[in-house]
Symmetry: C2
Subunit: 441 residues, 2 copies
Amino acid sequence: MANEQEIRAQIAGLEAELAALKAQLPPPVSPLAPESGFPDLPVIDGVRFSTAAAAVKYAGRPDVMLAEIAPGAQVAAVFTRSTTRAAPVLRCEESLAKHVDNPDDRSGFAILVNSGNANAFTGGRGFESVDALRDRVGAELSIAPEHVFTSSTGVIGEPLPHGRIADKVAELAAGLDAGGAADAARAIMTTDTFAKGATASVDLGGTVQIAGFAKGSGMIAPDMATMLAYIFTDARIAQNVLQQVLWLENAGSFNCITVDSDTSTSDTLILAATGRAKMEPITDFADPRVRAFRLALRRVMDDLSQQVARDGEGATKLIEVRVTGANADGPAHRIAMAIANSPLVKTAVAGEDPNWGRVVMAIGKAGERADRDRISIRFGDILVAENGWVSAEYTEAAGAAYMKNDHIVIAVDIGLDNGKATVWTCDLTHQYITINADYRS
Amino acid sequence: MANEQEIRAQIAGLEAELAALKAQLPPPVSPLAPESGFPDLPVIDGVRFSTAAAAVKYAGRPDVMLAEIAPGAQVAAVFTRSTTRAAPVLRCEESLAKHVDNPDDRSGFAILVNSGNANAFTGGRGFESVDALRDRVGAELSIAPEHVFTSSTGVIGEPLPHGRIADKVAELAAGLDAGGAADAARAIMTTDTFAKGATASVDLGGTVQIAGFAKGSGMIAPDMATMLAYIFTDARIAQNVLQQVLWLENAGSFNCITVDSDTSTSDTLILAATGRAKMEPITDFADPRVRAFRLALRRVMDDLSQQVARDGEGATKLIEVRVTGANADGPAHRIAMAIANSPLVKTAVAGEDPNWGRVVMAIGKAGERADRDRISIRFGDILVAENGWVSAEYTEAAGAAYMKNDHIVIAVDIGLDNGKATVWTCDLTHQYITINADYRS
């Protein structure tokens, strides 16, 4: 078949030409990035940021950020539940436990984060790296080493060249700036195509500001916190209340996104409250102002977590999966995740194919109670299926037109009880393969 | 940035040229297809096959197969556990239950299978289609309609145009041929790139033949049986023994493969034993010959199930994940599946990247007991990681060279106890996206 060989040779030539052309283009930005760009984050009284280029892995760009949190602050955090979590996460857990036990220790905190290397599965050497960096930052900022939270994100299994970061700590300390949050958000990016920030303010008998940023694009299926996210507020609030609020709001925000069903070894979410706002302190979860604080914090957390889904590797569409009518909220969450993690659902959305049969398949594999004849499925407002079959009013043309949107809502009612959950994900495209079949080279 | 626009225009032109060239090529066959092609299946005394082109969805190719199983046979089967399983599966379950209750009913059986339409989530109309076909085949072959097992594979949610199949039943009956298994295997293919067959023989006091075929390429994460597989033997064996043997061997074969973590609504595995072999009948599971029969059957089931993994949509590499040292077999299986279903592990293999850090990540997310410092990881015979870190003897060059193979073994020892499991999957490539972002058009 000489003709076939000729065609294959032509294809190989064209593909080489294409690759050369694509290499000349600037790095792509997710088409789902917020059109308004990175938000104008307010200064949080008591927090300063700094960045440096330590060449941990990436050359010629800032890859380390330092946040200094002034004395008087409280810190809350949640971390990945991975059984192979990274050394920095394990040390952060120890620090948090100490802080919980000593909430009246009013000395300051710091957060040091590098991109390019996760310091995960690096044996005893992983702890040595973390300890060296904590000691160095603690000495520079005159705080206890255990008050330095560190995170690392990037390749797993390679030793962290922590000396390169330690060498930059003096420079980082000298550069601390209350307005440095946007640069800090950029310094911690890996395969992210845009920096992710969010802010809210709330009146708690005095105006309180909340500002945060996050990174994450792949290995996203948080099982407690997610990737890396740092949120700061000037609220005056006790540690035990702060921790409880963070845990509760995390369950409905970061724990409800998935890009690829893969859970990171490094997921870390830290919330620091400086206590500088002019307000009476909140010392009890029953304080009526907790609800207002939770709502404001949740706006920031929803915004950040959905930005992570929008920057899912290769994403061209944001997918919101709403499940109602399950026999409880837990089953609803698991059904929603089965749909959101289905490669066949995600590729159908990428292909703008209203292939609701794949949604049926994903419900069926979730392992939760469901009765085929009670399920209804909607794409946006369009009723697609009910009573065990396609809806009489559904037309393929209407479904296909809806799939052109870049925010797709898949709404499933199981028809059994009141359990409900909403999760966010993105479509699965060629670009995900391109990014991940060539990550380390 | 006029230059960027020019480059993008050139890229668009080249991509159109490429698409036109690729359309001229013959449909690709998986590079992992057995080099020996479809095996020479022995005739199973008492079974005849036939195929027809009914244009259920595909035009110009056989898309229906009929297998006739002579009086005196016993049938065993396992089916998907999906809660949204298809009408043919539900009817097959009823038929099997009746057969189990009446093992002395020695009238014959038939199996009718179509490709192109799964008759799943088609409401009451789905049962009407199955019943019409069972009646038609039963009348033509003079057997009870409940003795006709039907399967349907293809798009979910569209009504099965069963009239087109019913119109071919007389032609199918007229064409029945003991040597027709290879054509039958081809007729039930959907996105499969090659037909899958396997055979074994065993001495049970008389030579017994086993021959079977399967289809499956995507939506592969069987949770009991898998996609469609039909195995025939002339063994003389009681139904209760046959069913128990099938169930046991299924657990270690079809239930240990995954292409994309998506479980089909139609998974069906049927084993028919015609009893025509010259041997004393097996009537008890304690019969010492059961072990020999199981081993032979397992060879056929392993062969077929691994062929399904080899034909995973877009597959370029077969991945074998061996987990040992877990605290029990169940946890070992779940850890192996977490690795086998990880998009990040699968894309790394596609990119020939020995990215063992992603294996660590997948172990960590499995939700099973694991201690980072006791885990060891091998790629083939190469010790990659142990004692919580990269092995002293490991070199990236050795790992990269190993990844060039088209059969990749990822061996993980958890270091806790004796639990073990092996599962098979394939890599995740651009071709999976291409196939599934454009399935229905």
